[in-house]
Structures are given as C-alpha cells and as structure tokens.
C-alpha cells in the first residue's frame, strides 16, 4: 500500500517511468487505461460464455427434449453459471474494473490511480478468479448446479450437480474475486478522494464518477458478506463443520452435520446480494446521466438531487436485503419493515428517472447510437423498476416468488438495463479509447435488435409468471394449471433470445472492425465538457495529460449556456477564456 512507483500527482512528468518494452506496456502494465482494457476484454469474453449458456437453457425450455446434450443436470449448471458470471464476473468487473479504471483518473484529472501497482495486481487476481471459475467446467462432475444463490444445504449435498468439486471451485473463485475487487476498490475510492485535479470539488464531479464512487463503497462493504458465507460454506463442505448445514437425510442417509442454519446463509448472501444490484446499477445511473446530458446538449436536470439520490440509494440498499427471503418465512413485522424500506428506495430512484426525462425535455437531442441506448435504458429500467415495486410487497411476492415473473423483473432491471448503459457507454467512449468511431449503421441495427429483442424475450415472461410457471425447472411435465399455450410462448421467447444473442455477434464484429478501420473521431467528437475529452492526445498517452495537469473551473454540465458561442464549455476553460457570441451570431440565433 505504500508503493508509489510513478506518482499520479506531480505536475511534471518524469519520462524515465514510461514503460518501454511490449510486455511492460501491454501485459504487466500499471497504466490504468491498459488495465481497464484488460478488465473489459476479460469480462466481455467471459460474458459471451454466459450468453451461450443462456442460449442453451432457452433451447431446452423452448424445445424440450430436442437436444440430447442438455440433461437436467446440465440445464441446472447452465442456469447457475449464467447467473453468477453475468452478475459478478461480467457486470461488476466491466462497470467498475473496466469503466471505473478507465474513467476515474481521466474524469477527475489525474495521471493514474494512486496505487498503480495494486491496480495491476487487482486485474491479475481477477483473471485468476475467472480461470478458476472456468476450470470448474472441466472437473469431474462439472460446475455447480445449485442456482446462482448457492443456497445450502442443497448446494453441497450429493445429488446436486457439481456438489463434489464444482461448488468448491465456485466458492474459491468468488473469494479470489473479492480479494481482487477490494484491491481495485480501495484504489478507486482513494483516487476520487485524494487525487482530483485542482478545482475539481466533489460537486463538480461528473455523475459517472459519483455513481462509480458510491458503488465502489457499496462493494467494499457488501462483498465481505459473500466472503464470509463462502468461507463458512467451504468449511462445511471440506472440514465437516455445521455452520449452515442442518441435520437432514440425504439420499436416505443422515448427513454428518447438525444444527446449522440455512437461513443464516440466505441472510448473509442477500446482505451482499441486494447491494450488488446497486453496485451494478449506480455506475450505470451515472454513465447514462452523462450520455444523456451530452447528447441532449443540456445540463443534467437537478444535479444535486442526482448526487443525493445516488448516496441515498446506496445507503438504503443495505436495509432491504430480506425482501429476497419473504418465502423463507420471517416475523411479519420484519416483512413489514423490509417491504417499507424497499418501497422507500423507489423515491430516490424515481427522482432519477424524472430527472433523466426532464434533461431530455426541450433538449437539442442528437439521436446518436449512445443516445439511443441511453433512452432505451430509461424504458427498460422504468419497466423493471415498476415490477420491483410489485414484488417488494410481501403479499404480492408470495404467489409470484420463484416464477418467471421474478426472472422477467430482475432481467429487465439489472440485466438488460445495465447492459443498455454499457452499450451506450461503449459507443460513447470508444472514440476516446481508440480514436475511432464505432460504425453507426451497425450500431443502430444493434440497438433496435437488442432493444426490441429483449422486450420480445421478457414481456411474455411476465405473463408466464402470472400463469405460475416456476423458474429453474428443467421441464414442465404434466402440469394442469399451466395451459399448453405457455409452451408456444416459451418457444417464441427462445427464438427471440437466439436472435438477440446473434445480434451481439454483430456488435463484437463492429468493435473489432472499428478498432482498425473505423472512422477517425478527433479528440472530442461529441463536444463534451468533461475532462477525459480534453486530453492532449487521443487515445490518451501514459500519464494522460502531457506536461500540465488540468485545472477545473466549472461543473461538468455547461451545455448550451446562453450567449456563449459554442454550445458547450469544457470543465477546464477559465471564465475569462469563454468565447461569447458576437452580434452576427446573435442575429443568426434569433433567425433560427
């Protein structure tokens, strides 16, 4: 922690610290931008694995018994790995490890993270976690099939797929991931607090940084709960303790455990699990705010309210966890408490949604690809959020729990919505990372395919949930209360899912093609105000800022300021350097 190899702070740059060889520049790099790209590529690669897994699940559900390689065990393993990879190894890693790493130093105006060495270590530890996780596909018995929540006792009992080795790999991988996240997280928080450029007060930070900052604090405080439960479950499995394991019969024989409490695991898991939703959502909230303001050429509506809402959501997210456990049984007063806190979260969240819409109101909206994804996000998020309000009530949750309604809800709110923002962010910041645009036509095709496709997938799922179709089931069998038409719906969902999956290939091809052949973008193609667009070079070089660090003179949202010639004023432009309109400009302005 005391390591400060090349300080991120000094005004003058010392050339001797620049990496020379290929290996120190691109492999063992301590540059936050390279680490961010390493994080992103790894996360997206493992995310594609999870996408394929979801496709295989859908094949079984849409066309039961047509595919011999999907037996019930394999199906459960696909479900489990899909969930865990998407939530933790893709979304958390890409939003914080990828975008957090890339954007924090650039947006707050510093040369690098404050602990570059620790940052590098964070990535390689994350990679180790991914490798351990992927290795579990190849051990005897395969990956765990316990569901992404890994509830004991079933997660470690004979009969559950992967109960022998897969679950151990999963738990160890999670523990390693948490170590990696803590190293990265300490870096992000300290950089935001200690290394901001001159003039960058907390309230002048772009909302992206606010979102990432608060989400990182949530992560630092919530991941220990997962670590605790992972360690205790490993003890139960390997050393024969009874933290979570009750005395039960397994396959007709009494197990060697007694007295443990599976509910205790659920409390720990969801004490991590609910903040995790916001670890994913808050950076997305921040980034979408900046994309909307930039492409609507308007200051974000209610900036302070947006910041307070992020902080309030972060705080509240720690006192709602038991709403995932209504069906586990609890004191009715607890249920009342957790339902109330859950509904209260809707207040700051709704403030954010209104503010996004009011930012668009009478804005000079440019329907660029990032803007399309950002607007798409407002739809999907509102949609998923509203079903969240329904499920937050105990009486509504009980009949809907463990049905496809829940699957539809959380996929809309924390699957599709953050992914929409991720795409918006990738299309928005790609010109800074590579100096080239992503192809717009392919981008628009990608947007409409993804946006309409996800609705084709998840809208019918709400209805399946109302019918009572349970989640995680390999096949329906002969169930009287579910009409046969539900199968037709399932088939249509599967077809949509496969189409959406294939469309993502178009996106990947677009990225690969554009890195080499994309249209050159210049250094600030969106005329944005935030600091990352004001670097001397695009892509920014090692040390980001050339000789002098930027000095910040204004907040991040000076778009369309009256009587100013350009419709944006970058954060590092001093008041005396702002170019005002002359008479001719004013005349033109009135005419239009």
């Amino acid at each position: 922690m005391t390591e400060m190899t090349h300080t991120a702070i000094a005004d003058q740059e010392d050339d001797s610290h620049h990496p020379k060889s290929f290996i120190s520049k691109y492999i063992w790099s301590q540059d936050h931008k390279v680490i961010a790209i390493q994080y992103s590529i790894t996360a997206i690669a493992v995310g594609l694995v999870a996408l394929v897994l979801s496709g295989m699940m859908r094949l079984q559900l849409g066309f039961p018994d047509q595919f011999s390689f999907i037996d019930p065990s394999a199906y459960l393993q696909f479900v489990t790995m899909h969930g865990m990879i998407m939530v933790i190894y893709l979304l958390t890693a890409l939003l914080l490890g990828g975008f957090g790493n890339y954007l924090i130093p650039l947006m707050v105006g510093t040369r690098d993270m404050v602990f570059p060495y620790l940052n590098m270590l964070s990535y390689w530890t994350y990679l180790l976690a991914v490798i351990v996780l992927m290795a579990s596909f190849f051990v005897a018995g395969g990956t765990t099939g316990a569901g992404w929540t890994l509830y004991p006792p079933q997660a470690i009992l004979e009969g559950t797929p992967g109960a022998d080795k897969g679950i151990i790999f999963m738990l160890v991988s999670l523990a390693i991931f948490i170590v990696a996240f803590t190293m990265g997280g300490l870096n992000y928080v300290t950089t935001v607090l200690q290394a901001r450029a001159k003039g960058m007060t907390l309230m002048r930070m772009p909302l992206t940084i606010w979102g990432i900052f608060i989400a990182t604090i949530l992560g630092l405080l919530a991941f220990p709960a997962l670590l605790v439960s992972a360690i205790m479950m490993i003890f139960d499995k390997l050393l024969g303790t009874s933290f979570f394991m009750p005395a039960i019969l397994s396959l007709g024989e009494a197990v060697d455990h007694s007295g443990g409490s599976p509910i205790l695991f659920q409390h720990l898991f969801w004490f991590f699990g609910h903040p995790e939703v916001y670890i994913v959502a808050l950076p997305a909230f921040g980034m979408v705010s900046d994309v909307l303001a930039t492409h609507a050429r308007k200051n974000i509506f209610g900036y302070r309210m947006m910041v307070w809402a992020i902080v309030a959501i972060g705080g509240l997210s720690f006192v709602v966890w038991a709403h995932h456990m209504y069906v586990s049984g609890m004191n009715p007063y607890f249920g009342f408490f957790f339902a109330t806190t859950t509904l209260i979260i809707a207040v700051p969240t709704a403030i954010k949604v209104y503010n996004w819409i009011l930012t668009l109101w009478r804005g000079n909206i440019h329907l660029t690809v990032p803007m399309l994804f950002a607007i798409g996000f407002i739809f999907t998020f509102t949609h998923g959020g509203l079903t969240g309000l329904m499920l937050g009530n105990v009486v509504v949750d009980l009949p809907l729990s463990d049905t496809y309604f829940v699957v539809a809800h959380f996929h809309m709110v924390m699957g599709v919505s953050p992914v929409m923002v991720l795409f918006a962010a990738i299309y928005h910041w790609f010109p800074k990372v590579t100096g080239r645009f992503l192809n717009t036509s392919l981008g628009k095709f990608h947007f409409w395919g993804t946006f309409l496709g996800t609705y084709a997938i998840y809208l019918p799922m709400h209805y399946l949930g109302f019918l009572g179709v349970p989640r995680r089931y390999y096949a329906m069998g002969n169930t009287d209360f579910i009409p046969e038409s539900a199968q037709a719906l399932n088939a249509s969902i599967t077809v949509s899912a496969i189409i959406v999956g294939v469309i993502q290939v178009v996106f990947v091809m677009n990225v690969i093609w554009s890195v080499f052949k994309g249209k050159k973008s210049g250094h600030n193609p969106w005329n944005a105000t935030t600091l990352e667009w004001q670097t001397e070079h695009t892509p920014p070089r090692h040390g980001n800022w050339g000789k002098n660090l930027p000095v910040v003179h204004r907040w991040a949202y000076d778009y369309s300021v009256p009587n100013v010639k350009e419709d944006f004023i970058p954060q590092n432009v001093a008041p005396e350097h702002v170019i005002m309109m002359d008479e001719q400009d004013k005349h033109n302005e009135e005419k239009t």
């Binding site: 922690m1 005391t2 400060m4 300080t7 702070i9 005004d11 510093t110 404050v114 602990f115 803590t182 997280g185 300490l186 928080v189 300290t190 607090l193 200690q194 290394a195 901001r196 450029a197 001159k198 003039g199 960058m200 007060t201 907390l202 309230m203 002048r204 630092l220 405080l221 220990p224 709960a225 605790v228 360690i231 205790m232 003890f235 050393l239 024969g240 303790t241 009874s242 933290f243 060697d256 007694s258 007295g259 443990g260 409490s261 205790l264 720990l268 200051n299 900036y303 302070r304 910041v307 307070w308 902080v311 000095v551 003179h553 204004r554 907040w555 949202y557 000076d558 001093a574 008041p575």
Partner: protein, 231 residues
Amino acid sequence: MNIFQKLTEKPWLADDKLALEGNSGSVSSAQLNTSTPAKTALYFFLSVVSVLFLLFTITFLSRSQAVDFQALAGEPWLPFSQPTSLWFNTGILLLASISLQLSVLFSRQKKTNHLLIMLVLATLFSATFLIGQYTVWQQLTLSGYALNENPANSFFYLLTGIHGLHLLGGIFALVRVVWIFWSKNKTQSLTASLRLCTTYWHYLLVVWLFLFALLTATPETYRTIALFCGF
C-alpha cells in the same frame, strides 16, 4: 468545509476562486507527501475488515442460540473458563503493538539502531503470537475440542484463523516496508509507512481483544446479547 456544506454546494454557481483554493482533495505541493492516499486507503481497508468481523460475529451470535451449541467457557471444566494461554498471547500481541509504536518514535528521532531493534522485536512478538495461537489450537484438538465437534469450536478456529491471517499479511507488509527502506534508504517515507503499520497492528489488537471477549464468554452472555439483538 464539512461534508454537508460540500454536498449542498451549487456547482453551477460555485465560486471558482473558492473552489481553486479551498479544495482539500486538490493537487498541491503538500500532496507530494505520499502518505495521505495510503492513509485513506488503509482506513477504508480497516472498514472492510471491520465489516468482515462484524458479520462473523453476527453469524456467531445467531448460531450460538441453537440447541447443539456448547460454549467453550462457563462451567469450570471447559477449556476457556480459565484462558491462561490466551491471556499470554494477548500480552505478546500487546508487546508487538508497543514495539511498533516505539519504532515510529525512533524513526522520527532518526535513531536507526533503536529503530531496528524495535522492528525485530515487533516481528518476533507477532510471530510468537501466531505460534501461540497455533499451540492453543493444538491443545484444543488434543483435549477433544476438534474443529467439527461443535459450532463453538468451529467458530473459535475460524475466527482466530482469520485474525491470524490478517496479522500474517501485516507482517509481510512490515517486512516489505523495511526491505524498501533498506534498498532505497529514505527515512522520511519509512516513518510514514511505519505509522500505517502501527495503526494496523493496534487495530488488530483491538479486534483480538474483542474476539477474545466474544469467544470466551459464557452461554448466559450469548443469550443476553442475542435477546438484545432480537435473534
């Protein structure tokens, strides 16, 4: 400026001069002192570790109310009704903390010889503590209190183990600090780094005292706390 003033600032009107002067997080010459970010990071890290032990404590208290839970103290024949060996270990860890504190003092006064003696002592005491804890484990196992015999035993091994791992990590960090000092010979950064190490050692001492009290309490105490917490 306190945090509430900062958060209620209107950034679209904010006084540019004030922002340029009064920004505590800004880059200034004082910031070249590298200890400030490290201190912030350490405090965040300690909060993370605190949450970790807090959650272990809550699981412990909750589990202690199950019928099969046999506390390790209370009745006179139980191993920690008179935890002599644990008191001994506590004393050793206290000595480690004191030696580190003194090493900071000597580092500031640039008394290199005294400093080195204190660092060696601190490392030795910490290692002795770890060995002492391991001995307690062995004694427990030999007298029939194995890891998987009872949840109280499991928690004892688990919590002391996690605490020991944190101390072991601290020893690595300390050795590294000394190693960097040896190879680069900069006393100024040494004092700052030793201060951070000392904070960490004191923190681990406090955690240990807490764990000590928790793990050797009587079933009645657990009952009372659990009732108070609503388990």
